[in-house]
């Protein structure tokens, strides 16, 4: 028997179909015409195989504006729980927050993000977390374009090797540099808002010509001094 029999193509649920269909529409070229989803997740830890998302927070950013009521905040019911990380995000296992199942969370999240560009601080971690959850629920990976404020921030600094740029800049450092209040650090929606404001400041500094240009800017510069 053929040992690598192709996975049986499951009938994907309607919400996924809808999500996928949204990608038939192309992203607007101009940065200003795009809707950016700036988001963050709180998780039980950093391991993709074991840890789980507890909360997803996201805001919609368009033309420099964020409508408070159009933000996204859900808490997810999870079996896996890690007492250590609870000290950071303060989400207790049996807290009073209303929670929903992981599948419901994904459903709502996909319906919210559609084909928009996802912006996050070290966004690939969150993307991978969501992808792991999607896989657990028998769904394919996220298809959205992503922007990492950590990488973009680096591009606002001068290019020079003696200045010893750090490998990574934490969200706290960005918040400090851009004097953004850190009051809501470690709530997903709070971090999402901080990231959104940092992202806006970065946009002003980088002044990209279009979205493509902006996405390209995440790559390390080709030349240095």
């Amino acid at each position: 028997m053929w040992p690598f029999s192709p996975k049986k193509q499951l009938e994907l649920p309607a919400f996924w179909q809808e999500y996928e269909d949204s990608f038939q529409q192309r992203l607007p070229e101009k940065v200003h015409d795009n809707i950016f989803i700036v988001w963050d997740t709180e998780t039980t830890g950093f391991r993709l195989d074991r840890d789980r998302m507890l909360c997803i927070g996201a805001v919609k950013l368009m033309r420099g504006s964020i409508a408070v009521k159009d933000s996204f905040e859900i808490y997810i019911q999870q079996e896996h729980y890690d007492a250590e990380s609870a000290e950071i995000h303060g989400i207790l296992r049996n807290g009073k927050r209303e929670r929903i199942s992981e599948l419901d969370a994904l459903k709502l999240f996909l319906g919210y993000i559609k084909n928009h560009v996802l912006v996050g601080h070290h966004v690939m971690f969150d993307v991978n977390m969501v992808n792991a959850a999607l896989r657990r629920n028998g769904l394919p990976k996220l298809k959205n374009k992503t922007l990492d404020t950590g990488l973009l921030y680096k591009r606002t600094l001068l290019t020079s090797n003696v200045l010893q740029k750090k490998e990574k800049y934490a969200l706290d450092e960005l918040a400090e540099k851009f004097s953004i209040s850190k009051k809501d650090r470690h709530t997903a929606l709070g971090d999402a808002l901080i990231t959104a404001i940092a992202f806006l400041r970065i946009l002003e500094k980088l002044n990209p010509r279009n979205v493509k240009d902006l996405i390209k800017k995440q790559d390390p510069p080709r030349f240095s001094l």
Partner: protein, 684 residues
């Protein structure tokens, strides 16, 4: 009073965190709506982490402070957070009213009337603007523009209006503020003209820069003649209670005697009190026309270092005197002058106050430029004020530390502020140099100064000095060293002059002591000069660094504009014109081992002295660097930015010619450097 109940609509989006407003009465909400716990009426308000934060902010400012927390929570949920880049328009004059009015969360918004550059009001944190047109159903009467990068909360009028009608405290606030035409009737200063146009006639008078108004001088002249006895003069001055007396001959002023003359020449016994006025008078008297503005008068006094000016009919000594102007008169005459600002800076106890003072400094600067006051003087005054601001910030910051500094230290400002050329708010480049401490204390000392450095740099940022994008700030461990460490670092730069090291030295070597022990900095300077002799190739590298910026004009004497990036087709004034001049001055002055002259124009003037054979070129350089600085400042003020990038199509013919004239000088000084330091021999 019964609360308005905000019950969630059926099937409301589940992702909204529906934490009830009163948790004691209702603490569980299910997917299908709230579960009623108990029998009391409860209020459920839609909110999430962000809306809570918005409410937290708004509750500190009227009129929102008068709202009940439930109302505020509901209102906050409807807010839109708007980010505005600096200089972008929030709304313009005559525009139809938006659905929102605005509260400044961060940053500042300038309100102006069309056709005038005069800013009517600056709204900062917590200030409300753009509300009246919405309530009155009329178009905006002012233009609102982000004065810096700004975050606004846009509050929908639809949600706000019922609250304003319901809550009489809110209504009262609005009525009062509209009636008194100020933004916040509770504040002492009635500065705002927010809700409409102010009473037009008084407007110009009120806001005009006092500086540029004609001086008021005393026209009751107290005079004597050359032969008058000193004792009589002193008696006369005492009788009229004046600090100076004019010596006249045939009705024309020939000299002046002040308190200082009496003190220094008579009381010291140099001249007897029986002597004549002629023997002690300062002659000729320095005369000016009576149509002097306050600023000009102050400049005149500063220039000649005198405290009294004689005003005559036509400004010369050949016409009769009409009045005398003393320093005191000027102080009284105006509020916004450098001396008054300086005192205000020294009295400021927190950075918020200093930030306000910086606004005044900027409008002072604008006035100076409009009046065409020599840029050399202007930059001196502004740099003085900047230095004083930084000093005050350091004093404030030291108080914030738990202990006194463990060692003597100096705060060095580098780059343009170090050169006294920072007229506009540009980046902060600074460093800390502290005295050597025993090894056992070195770590604790370093930690202390790093902490101090980061407090100071944060405070400076609050005031309006942007962070340095290259992290050249005392909060960075690389820019906070003891004397020995700095010696080591500079020796390394000079001994291994790669492009980076040259870049770093060129920024660092313009350091200027802003605060603390000057002796420490002097020791470092001496060390650097020793090294210049030790590593002669360093100057060559520095010179080559000065030449690396491409010449500003192309083959056809056209401007070279930027080819790429955000500033495509703009002319980079800093990189292509100012930097070559600055770099050239630095390498030349270092090669002469001249320390403590940092200003580029002054460096060229010193070079005129040192190398009379190149007098003409250096004079041209001095002129060009002043002209370029003025150019940059003017454009920066006009566009409220650093003035670095110039849109060429916006320049008029005269400006273009002026700019091009400086390019010739740049080319000449670059070729002088190329030949003198044999840059060609360098493998580049």
């Amino acid at each position: 009073m019964p609360h308005t109940a905000y019950t969630p609509i059926d099937g409301c989006p589940i992702w909204v965190d529906k934490t009830p407003f009163r948790s004691d009465e209702c603490n569980i909400l299910t997917k299908n709506g709230p579960k009623y716990l108990g029998f009391k009426t409860y209020i459920c308000v839609m909110k999430n982490t962000i809306s809570e934060r918005v409410a937290d902010f708004l509750k500190n400012y009227p009129p929102f402070s008068a709202l009940e927390s439930g109302q505020l929570a509901a209102l906050s949920y409807e807010v839109t957070i708007v980010h505005k880049e600096s200089n972008s328009i929030v709304f313009s004059e005559k525009e139809a009213p938006h659905d929102f009015f605005y509260v400044v969360h961060k940053g500042a918004v300038a309100l102006t009337k069309k056709g005038s550059t005069q800013i009517l009001d600056i709204c900062d944190e917590g200030d409300v603007f753009g509300l009246r047109p919405l309530l009155a159903h009329e178009n905006y009467k002012l233009e609102a523009k982000a004065h810096e990068e700004t975050i606004l909360y846009a509050i929908p009028i639809k949600e706000f209006k019922p609250l304003a009608l319901q809550n009489h405290l809110v209504g009262d606030f609005l009525i009062e503020s509209f009636a008194s035409n100020t933004r916040n009737p509770y504040s002492q200063k009635h500065r705002g003209k927010l809700y409409g146009v102010s009473n037009e006639p008084s407007q110009g008078q009120e806001t005009k820069l006092l500086d540029l108004q004609p001086v008021r001088y005393s026209s009751d002249l107290v005079t004597c003649t050359e032969g008058t006895q000193i004792k009589t003069i002193a008696n006369t001055m005492g009788k009229y209670n004046v600090s100076c007396i004019l010596v006249v001959k045939d009705g024309l002023p020939v000299g002046i005697i002040t308190d200082k003359d009496l003190r220094e020449k008579v009381a010291t016994g140099l001249f007897p009190i029986t002597g004549s006025a002629k023997s002690i008078m300062t002659s000729p008297a320095i005369t000016y026309p009576k149509e002097l503005t306050v600023t000009q008068a102050q400049m005149a006094m500063m220039k000649s270092n005198i405290s009294h000016l004689v005003l005559t009919e036509d400004g010369t000594t050949d016409t009769s005197a009409v009045g005398i102007l003393s320093k005191h008169d000027i102080m009284v005459a105006m509020g916004n002058n450098p001396a008054v600002l300086l005192r205000a800076i020294k009295r400021a106890r927190d950075s918020k106050r200093l930030r306000g003072i910086r606004q005044s400094i900027m409008s002072l600067l604008q006035g100076y430029l409009e009046e065409n006051i020599p840029i050399g003087l202007v930059s001196k005054i502004i740099s003085e004020l900047n230095d004083a601001t930084i000093k005050q910030v350091i004093d404030i910051s030291i108080k914030k530390m738990e202990t006194e500094p463990p060692a003597k230290f100096t705060w060095l400002t580098m780059g343009s502020q170090g050169r006294g050329e920072q007229l506009l708010n540009t980046d902060q480049d600074n460093a800390i140099l502290y005295e050597n401490v025993p090894e056992s204390k070195s770590e604790a000392t370093r930690d202390y100064f790093l902490k101090l450095g980061s407090i100071i740099s944060t405070e400076l940022n609050t005031i309006g000095f942007e962070y340095c994008p290259a992290e050249m700030m005392a909060s960075n461990p690389l820019w906070c060293h003891s004397l020995d460490e700095w010696k080591e670092v500079t020796t390394h730069w000079m001994g291994n002059p790669g492009p980076e090291e040259v870049l770093l030295s060129s920024i660092f070597f313009d350091f200027n002591v802003t605060y603390g022990e000057k002796a420490l900095a002097d020791q470092l300077s001496l060390h650097i000069f020793d090294n210049v002799k030790k590593f002669p190739q360093f100057l060559t590298h520095l010179a080559s660094g000065a030449l690396q910026n491409p010449s500003p004009s192309g083959f056809f004497r056209d401007f070279l504009v930027e080819q790429d990036g955000a500033h495509k087709d703009f002319f980079d004034l800093k990189l292509r014109a100012l930097m070559p001049m600055v770099d050239a001055a630095r390498v030349l002055i270092l090669s002469h081992s001249v320390k403590s002259i940092n200003n580029t124009a002054e460096r060229y003037e010193k070079l005129v002295e040192l190398e009379p054979q190149n007098k003409e070129l250096y004079l041209a350089c001095s002129y060009a660097s002043k002209a370029l600085l003025k150019f940059r400042t003017k454009h920066g003020l006009l566009h409220n930015d650093s003035g670095r990038f110039i849109a060429l199509d916006k320049l008029n013919k005269e400006e273009k010619i002026k700019l091009k004239r400086t390019f010739k000088t740049i080319k000449e000084i670059q070729s002088l450097i190329e030949i003198r330091f044999q840059v060609k021999n360098l493998l580049r």
